[in-house]
Symmetry: D2
């Protein structure tokens, strides 16, 4: 069980709702994953097209919706999107994403911190997507964010924990949940993130773009559990040398 703001979750896997071939496939993947928190882009909320409605089925599954501001290029756009989302979805939870760069979708640390500070004051429960920058994460905590979501690699890149050495420091220093977001392309990446001590991971592309999103969602769910269990049980440190066992000839001598 882990807690964000006033809610408790049993699943440590968060899903994104983008890039699925259909809303139905998205729902099936969400169900297979056991996920309780789904992020969705405000710009994709096309409430006028009921056949594309992502929201109703998620609500029926008692999923906590986490609208995100993907596509916002600065704090002003993000705050505007947040207000829209709060009104449309009746939730003050928000994944804050600000990326002026259209090629790698890298988050802007300055605008993100400024927007986070304002959104907290406006009553939002803010989970910012950010670079794997230890000082930035500390500052986001200080302005009242309820969690941080540093990236493992570029969004959609499937490269895994490219920022591992920074994530270790972020997790060591954080006094709130650290959710690794972006770049996790395989269940082993998600397990490794949890083994580092992440509170949770968010996965989208690797599941939604899979040939079998439902199976892949289940795979990630298992991997997240595996990594968490191993973290709690305590992982051994890699050793340079093998642990020598007694030679077989000793045994022969005992015959």
């Amino acid at each position: 069980m882990f807690q964000i703001a006033d809610r408790t979750f049993s699943s440590r896997l968060l899903l994104g709702s983008g890039k699925f071939a259909s809303p139905l496939l998205m729902q099936q993947a969400v169900r297979a994953s056991g996920c309780q928190l789904v992020t969705l882009a405000i710009k994709r909320l096309e409430l006028t097209k009921p056949q594309d409605d992502l929201v109703t089925p998620l609500r029926n599954m008692h999923i906590q919706l986490l609208p995100n501001t993907s596509g916002a290029k600065n704090a002003k756009e993000a705050i505007f999107a947040a207000e829209l989302a709060r009104e449309a979805l009746q939730t003050n939870w928000l994944k804050l994403e600000i990326h002026p760069d259209p090629r790698y979708l890298m988050p802007d640390p300055i605008e993100t911190l400024a927007a986070a500070e304002q959104l907290v004051k406006l009553g939002f429960v803010v989970l910012p997507y950010c670079s794997a920058d230890p000082v930035l994460c500390k500052r986001l905590e200080q302005v009242g964010c309820v969690a941080v979501m540093p990236l493992g690699a570029a969004i959609g890149s499937n490269q895994g924990l490219q920022t591992r050495s920074m994530l270790q420091i972020i997790i060591e220093q954080a006094q709130m949940p650290v959710i690794i977001d972006a770049g996790l392309g395989a269940p082993s990446h998600a397990a490794a993130a949890m083994e580092l001590g992440a509170a949770a991971v968010l996965v989208n592309t690797a599941i939604a773009s899979s040939n079998d999103p439902v199976a892949m969602a289940g795979a990630f769910a298992n991997a997240v559990n595996a990594g968490r269990m191993a973290y709690l049980a305590g992982l051994a440190t890699p050793q340079q040398q093998a642990t020598a066992s007694s030679p077989f000839t000793d045994f022969l001598a005992t015959l």
Copy 2:
């Protein structure tokens, strides 16, 4: 389900029985892992000390025993140990291990191939532990081994898939199960091995030396499932570039 020789297994996690604090703890870990195949060193078979008996409880759990020749320094010692094991345990299954080097316990390719060839002729079902050498693995297949067990890293080192680039070639070329053995120190390592296409993995130190071997056994079981499911569903290739989504400003323009 996967097959070795004439037996079918639903679990793709194999366990070693060494280094556990007690036989009871070993049994509990085996049960938690769902494992159906356990390797045990012939030299540890001290049948005269019933309180240390590893074998009876495993038999009661319907585990396929896989005696190993750990400690043998050449083919002759390994074959002698194999004969002892077959008689004592009433099984012709054998994990062949020959490591003349007491420090890193690295397998000897020459003696291993020679012993494998003879043991197959002697009616053994041979699964050799070997270095991650693609040509050696092909030759072990050609002399009649039912699987190969190339190492991921030095035994007990917990370093993970250090030999990944060679394992990829071995798996691509094999027409029998490839079981990654040695060096897997975390569930994420086991998941990564399965994602590569390994048929199974064998884990011992990382579970037996954990503070909580039972929990760690469950963690590895989940990770192996996760990696296998992902392999079957098809993993995406890592991308250099992010997958750009349409900018938020496009959305604003539609209001």
Copy 3:
């Protein structure tokens, strides 16, 4: 040759002056490295202790001094230190370092950008030390910094290019020199940084803490040259498959 502001340098290796056993050893290492730009902490400028004077010998060697604000915890402290340095050393060149975190010495993106903007207006030639954050580096360029100095790993950690995937993006997007700073613990790390397309690297701990700083300085100089030459000549892309050559039997057939 590469240019920073109005100066041209033939050496792409920058040195730090900290942690050397003596000022003399520092000078010898600087000479062995061929370095033309040395950074020194303003707080170490103890002009009242002439025997510890780092500055005079560097000036005599025609080294461009690059005072740094190491130890500053916010923009205000950094600007104060910069003013002190300009007066004491008669140079407006400045390596901007702001790290509130005493354990990992990670740079603060917010304070660094704010200080950079002000220092540029105050007439400084600003080279900021920063996290490997592509958007931050772009912003530092936009406020008038003459180069950026993203970290490869934590200062003094010797871990090498832990932030490689982000550095690639930074280099691709930059229109000013990118100088990789911090964490380079071996010449191979420096060569790899140059092969990525970095304009230069800065090394301190790995040289100053070596058993033989003068030899290590020469080693890094060679590695930087090697990496730069390779970058210009064009590196091949890693291939999954070997390049097959014609089999020897074809040759035998021609006999």
Copy 4:
């Protein structure tokens, strides 16, 4: 300076002669690299086509020729090729290569050891190309090879030190020169091999296939020197934590 058999070399970079656009370019690259030992495939020795003669110019440069048996699929073919080479080139030096696998050109450990043993008895100075297998390398030493040439990655793959963890053990255990061969795609890879303690490296594809083989040869030469110097000077161990310097505020307090 390092020694193989009865010859002493000042350069620790060995070159392969294959894949160059022309013999002249090969010579220029050899000259730029400072290399004193060049390997060439016996099957490429087309002595009847004088315009393609690789040998005469190398002899004029006082290069030690190292004919190789590339393309041989078993010990018999390799020994035949070795005899041909000894007669044609008037040298008993031999790089032994046996790779039955045409796709990845992986060496065969069994045939290689058998051929090495015979070739040593036949008076050859044998340097075998082999997988990064610590026990195999020890055995090759025991049968009288003067050096071992374990692979870093698949031939021509440019992937670098994929077998690093095994190479470390090989180097630690060897009492003869360890020359890292195959897979080194960038000067940083060569430097890293030397930093591990390799006696030398052999490079071919990365230089011959470069847009500018002469410049690339020089780059590798610099990198090999850098890695060797650093190895001798003693490299620092990577640290998890930064080395904290005294905070700037301490300095402020002294004003």
